[in-house]
Subunit: 389 residues, 3 copies
């Protein structure tokens, strides 16, 4: 009975105990100054760098984005194959819609009236021949345009090449026209509509800012200085901002990155959260370690002639693909990262004592006095030697 009461009491006593370390206070100009300066440095770092610059008190979220684009403009070409011809948006945007990029045709090699038939290969190493023995029926070379029939036929006055089953006539292996056929593309404009969402903070915004009205949108063109919020871009301006020349790039094509950066501090008014546009060329124009420079692809338009035979027009289209890349981070005050950073900061303040102690107890002239006061000893070795005899 007595014992349980004693046990109870001791638990109680324990609960109401408050442990606080015993502190030695050293009053000294040198030591005090050293201490305060080190403390100030740590606090300045925690507040200045972690909290203000890196916003360590904020929880962050990555952006979810949706992009639609609409290109406008008309180009005129005049070639021997096609005559005078107008190109509108249904002609030069391929495919007609994509999720977050668009391709503008700027140059092309056209091969009209192809049918599935037999014709001599384009002269190239491996396809030249002098007799049928040089050609292997059924052989399909990845560099070739069809399947060899095994015959050797006349390609031109001087050349004989292996005959192939292919879409004939074959596309000629030549450089794209320079200047580019759709040189007018530099004046095309594109309206980029971008809607973003930060799901963690339930925050939505669009790149058409609230103060922008319909009248302005109908005639504005993006300009970094005069119209930085206009979402309509002239193709040439985008390419120029990336330090490239549109007409040069248009010849072989390329890939442009339209980077929209949404860096949002949601502790601030939401009107401060605005998109920043930058432009960058994404493909490698360096001709040294490069293969298939620029950007091109082949596509065809299929027709049926009077005899119900399929013919096609093959187009090797060169052009600029614009990839709209939306990125950014939103931050908003949250207690967890705040306390995480404050905790880490406090732990760093603990370092101050370690550093100062070391200096005080080894370098100061009065180190012996300090040592004497700071440390007490329980010396097992001494006890041991005392006990031994």
């Amino acid at each position: 009975m007595m014992e349980t009461r004693g046990c109870c009491a001791s638990i109680c006593q324990c609960f109401f105990e408050y442990s606080t370390p015993k502190i030695l206070i050293i009053r000294s100009f040198k030591v005090g100054t050293l201490n305060r300066i080190t403390q100030a440095l740590v606090i300045a770092y925690v507040i200045g760098y972690v909290c203000v610059l890196n916003k360590g008190y904020q929880d962050t979220d990555a952006v979810l984005s949706s992009v639609t684009t609409k290109v406008k403009g008309i180009a005129l070409t005049n070639t021997s194959d096609l005559g005078l011809r107008i190109w509108d948006v249904a002609d030069y945007i391929i495919p007609p819609q994509e999720e977050s990029s668009f391709f503008v045709l700027t140059n092309l090699l056209i091969t009209l009236n192809q049918t599935q038939s037999h014709c001599p290969e384009v002269p190239k190493t491996g396809f030249d021949c002098t007799s049928d023995r040089d050609c292997k029926a059924g052989s399909r070379d990845t560099r070739g345009n069809g399947v060899q029939t095994g015959k050797c036929v006349r390609y031109s006055a001087v050349d004989k090449t292996c005959e192939v089953l292919a879409w004939c006539p074959l596309e000629l292996d030549k450089e794209p026209p320079n200047p580019p056929m759709l040189a007018d593309a530099e004046n095309f404009t594109v309206l980029i509509k971008n809607s973003i969402r930060y799901p963690k903070f339930n925050f939505n915004k669009r790149n058409i800012l609230p103060y922008v009205n319909k009248t302005y949108l109908e005639q504005c063109v993006f300009n970094r200085i005069t119209d930085p919020d206009c979402p309509i871009f002239r193709l040439k301006d985008m390419v120029t901002e990336a330090n490239e020349d549109f007409q040069t790039m248009a010849v072989h094509g390329g890939v442009m990155g339209v980077q929209i950066r949404w860096e949002c501090d949601l502790d601030m008014p939401s009107s401060w959260c605005v998109p920043r546009y930058t432009f960058r060329r994404l493909d490698n124009k360096d001709p040294v370690n490069n293969v298939a420079p620029g950007y091109n692809f082949r596509f065809a338009k299929y027709y049926k002639n009077g005899n119900n035979e399929e013919t096609r027009t093959l187009i090797k289209g060169f052009g600029i693909r614009f990839d709209v890349m939306v990125f950014g981070q939103a931050g908003k005050f949250n207690i967890v990262p705040t306390l995480l950073n404050v905790g880490a900061g406090l732990a760093l303040l603990g370092l101050v004592t370690v550093v100062c102690d070391w200096i005080v107890l080894t370098c100061m002239t009065k180190k012996n006095i300090y040592n004497e006061q700071k440390y007490s000893y329980v010396d097992d070795f001494q006890l041991l030697s005392n006990e031994t005899p």
Copy 2:
């Protein structure tokens, strides 16, 4: 010899030293209670909020996703231009496949039998004319449809406009039909197959859950209450969930976000990791600060007539683009974030001593006794004044 031995011994001694702070224990109801409450608060925060709610003990990874979609349904239209006409999936999905979105045509303006030729511009400010002097040969206005020839020609009984080289006849600048032509699209269904991966944890999953069998999949339609795991969605249901009216949206088109959220706690059974579907309209339907509302694009079908002349059917297609947006985070126990959070928590416990000390040593009635016991002083100033005389 003696010295090295002494040095060795002192290093040894140092190694076997254990430093522990001297502690003053204050046994007091008030102080003890204060101390325990503050400690309890900090521990409750660390365990409750950081560990349980925010799962601070988990390492996280972002989702990698792949989406395929398959739309089903048939629409019937009846117009003066086209007569009675059936639209199937090959007609209304443009382009036929995309990576993680699909476009369903819901309304259209069609311009049949366009050829490259000359015709008067559509009457609009800037294109009206009274004589050839009002038209500038070679001028191409971004708002126009072609390149002006410099002639002023009769457009209708009342209007004269500048002649252009273009795809003629020109598309009429009119509003899309209302009700929309493919109103039947509301009953189309789409099967969305989504496969995700968390590379850091080597975890794969699909949105067709293991217990779902083929028979169920062949006839189910997603319903938030009765069929929340069915990956087949009726288009109208998706639009309705986003608080929009399908028929209204179908007229001018729009962009819908199909959000699939994979929030997975991989410390739990993997069967708890299931997708959550939500639907949101992504484009701006607010007519005030908007240009080109809705979602539309132009595309063409190219034909060749008997004379080998190219003609095309231009379609301005209005429709709904569904962007499948997959996001989420997986978390799994990892020792590094755990210790990071525990460490920060411990540092916060250090704060408790600071706060309690301040209260104990300044506010308590017996503060002088506590002060006396807690602090010892080495006073350089006093030493100084003692030495001076």
Copy 3:
């Protein structure tokens, strides 16, 4: 006057105070060893695991990527419908360009010369009929191919089905050919150009590495052992690496993930930052809980015949979609995460004292001596009892 001076002096004194805890040093083999081992463990964890393995001293950034692809190869098919036919890149890549994926047609069901007209439905449960009463005019079943006219017509010698308005003749509901029609697709090669950017560190790189020259690129094919840096991939090799059989997969189609991982330590030379390619099948080939296995979609080529009537060739295309998925993280030294981890590590070192204290003061034989030396008491209860009498 005297007072303000005193106040000033006390603030000064306070400023130059340095507080350092009073320490009890226990010199003991057991206790010292325990202490050092625990410390060593914590320090080893902080340095070894957090800093070296998890690179806790680095700030990280996610990758921004742009991908272009170019497929090469020719396939030959021989069917009763189409005769001997060559398929080139313009025929089998649909759509001709996409942002970060490409689709290769490997198998197809073709329905030639469809026109908008009337024909009997394909026999299936629900479409069979014996008289006109079994068919409902205007009914459009999602499983059907058109809108019913209400008539019951002869489909074959044995079957009568409801007549529909549709693109006739209807596509037959049959399995795709096996072996696949474009079996040659296994030898197609694809050049994948990938350009990445870590915006936070302003770091760009391409998957065509600096030492790779044009000559090598023109003839190399990726091989994990002999050519790990060649960005040209044989389709069959990719599928084989994912432990799948190309010819089997080609029959019903599928989705392949081409994963490019850029794990970059930007504290190291940038030439160490290289892409790692892995391949994985993304769709579910398990036939049990699956619907519409494989990957296929329908598209059409539209023609006009002599009477200006629209006809189309419907193709149900089966094939492999390759999704290029670029992911990875770059890390670079940054003072904030470093100090965060160091701070948390220090706080963990504080734990060492807690653990050692507990052992020393409860388990050691000389615990009473230690206790006596470590703790002083201010006992309010005792004071209380002293005061009471």
